[in-house]
């Protein structure tokens, strides 16, 4: 059992990496959600200019790998002289990247509400603002929550990419330990198990939300 001692230390180190992964994902998901909702609103309710701006943004973001943008920022940040720690640099990129996918989720939520909901609210004499606030948005958010949660799981997986541009989190931690212990299977499988626990929990939660969202219909 002696050979397991360094591995046990390794696993402990992985958990600290996982903490960083969760922190990074949480820091990115909040602004991503916020910007995603704004983009969705602009695309559904905005004028022609706003709509085409959003469509252009989505086209560009969804056609380029996240890794390209992360690497770009990694090389660019020092050049621009913006004094932003690398952690916040990647958080901003991830947030802007995932905002595009979030906006699709929220837009689908708004658009998949039956027409009758809008008509009913209007026939009750509600102002547009009131209608959106108490009729449309609560239901749209409920419809959007299952895909939102699976997008969050995707974001957690995507944080592994920041290890390529040199940030320390779970994947970077596992690479460091592998370099020291030369036990790639044990360590990488350990890291995979941690990612799995996080993402599968989110996936199950998404399934639960999906079942619940169907109940009302």
């Amino acid at each position: 059992m002696k050979e397991f001692a360094p591995l046990l230390h390794g696993y402990w180190y992985l958990f600290r990496g996982a903490e960083m992964t969760l922190l990074m994902a949480a820091a990115a998901v909040v602004p991503a959600t916020f910007v995603g909702i704004l983009l969705a609103l602009a695309q559904v309710f905005g004028n022609r200019f706003a709509r085409s701006a959003v469509v252009g943004y989505l086209f560009v973001i969804r056609g380029i790998p996240l890794l390209v943008l992360l690497t770009f920022v990694y090389y660019l940040l020092p050049l621009t002289g913006i004094d932003l720690p690398p952690f916040w640099g990647v958080v901003v990129v991830m947030a802007l990247y995932y905002a595009a996918f979030m906006s699709e989720v929220f837009r689908a939520g708004i658009l998949s509400l039956p027409r009758a909901q809008w008509d009913a609210a209007r026939s009750l004499g509600m102002t547009r603002q009131l209608m959106l606030r108490i009729v449309i948005f609560p239901q749209a958010l409920r419809l959007a929550s299952p895909p939102f949660v699976s997008l969050c799981a995707n974001l957690v997986k995507a944080t592994s990419l920041v290890s390529i541009v040199g940030l320390w989190e779970l994947t970077m931690a596992s690479r460091e330990i592998v370099e020291r212990t030369l036990a790639p299977f044990q360590i990488f499988l350990g890291a995979a198990a941690i990612y799995f626990c996080i993402c599968y929990t989110l996936a199950l939660y998404g399934k639960y939300l999906e079942r619940r969202a169907l109940v009302g219909h």
């Binding site: 056609g63 790998p65 997986k157 299977f185």
Partner: protein
């Protein structure tokens, strides 16, 4: 200096050479996963231990990052004396992950065909093979084209992660050029444009295929 024409004239051929590897990886992954995903989906639709194994496979590969799978294949296999080249490791990891996603797409397509379609076919006295060939499969194919198109786009973007194990695909070529020239803007502009072009072509191909099928029906 950004947008230096002499630099771009030398850069473009190098990037295109990298893009060839990117395209090769993406097409191979897509083609292999079309088959592998179907096998997994069919295994998942049976009853018994085979279904359980397929289900576990789908959940595990979908809820762990591609990058970790890549490291397990590349570093893990070489540790046990079963070393694969970077390209082969990348291809294997891409297929492992996307096979899981494609299996879910097939499953969704099969589930979306209502049971009444089977009953109606049988009521008309169709043989099993005829029923599948003329009724079920055309409907499944029509339904899976949009998600398959998205998966193809996602595969093209995923190939960039293979740069992490030093395969000279477009992302790695770009990194080398940035490191050696410090002309960050031009390199990333070129890479972004080529990725956008590749993903747009995949998206358009999916749309065309969809339309052609709509005519055929």
């Amino acid at each position: 200096m950004p947008l230096d024409p002499h630099f771009i004239a030398r850069l473009i051929p190098a990037l295109i050479e990298g893009a060839e590897v990117t395209v090769e990886l993406a097409i191979l992954t897509f083609a292999i996963c079309l088959v592998w995903g179907l096998i997994v989906a069919l295994a998942h639709s049976t009853r018994g231990p085979l279904s359980w194994i397929a289900g576990a496979y789908i959940q595990i590969v979908r809820n762990t990052p591609l990058l970790i799978q890549l490291y397990i294949v590349f570093f893990g296999f070489s540790m046990i004396g079963f070393g694969l080249s970077g390209f082969a490791s990348g291809l294997l990891a891409l297929c492992i992950q996307n096979g899981g996603y494609m299996a879910e797409i097939y499953r969704g397509g099969l589930q979306a065909v209502s049971l009444r379609q089977y009953e109606a076919g049988r009521a008309l006295g169709m043989r099993r093979a005829t029923l599948y060939r003329t009724v079920i499969i055309p409907q499944v194919v029509a339904r899976i084209i949009p998600p398959m198109t998205n998966q193809a786009i996602s595969i093209i973007k995923d190939t960039s992660q293979v740069a992490a194990i030093a395969v000279m695909e477009m992302m790695k070529v770009a990194e080398v050029w940035v490191e050696s020239s410090a002309n960050t803007y031009d390199v990333f502009l070129g890479v972004a444009v080529i990725y956008l072009a590749l993903t747009s072509v995949a998206g358009l191909a999916g749309k065309l295929f969809e339309r052609q099928l709509a005519f055929a029906q």
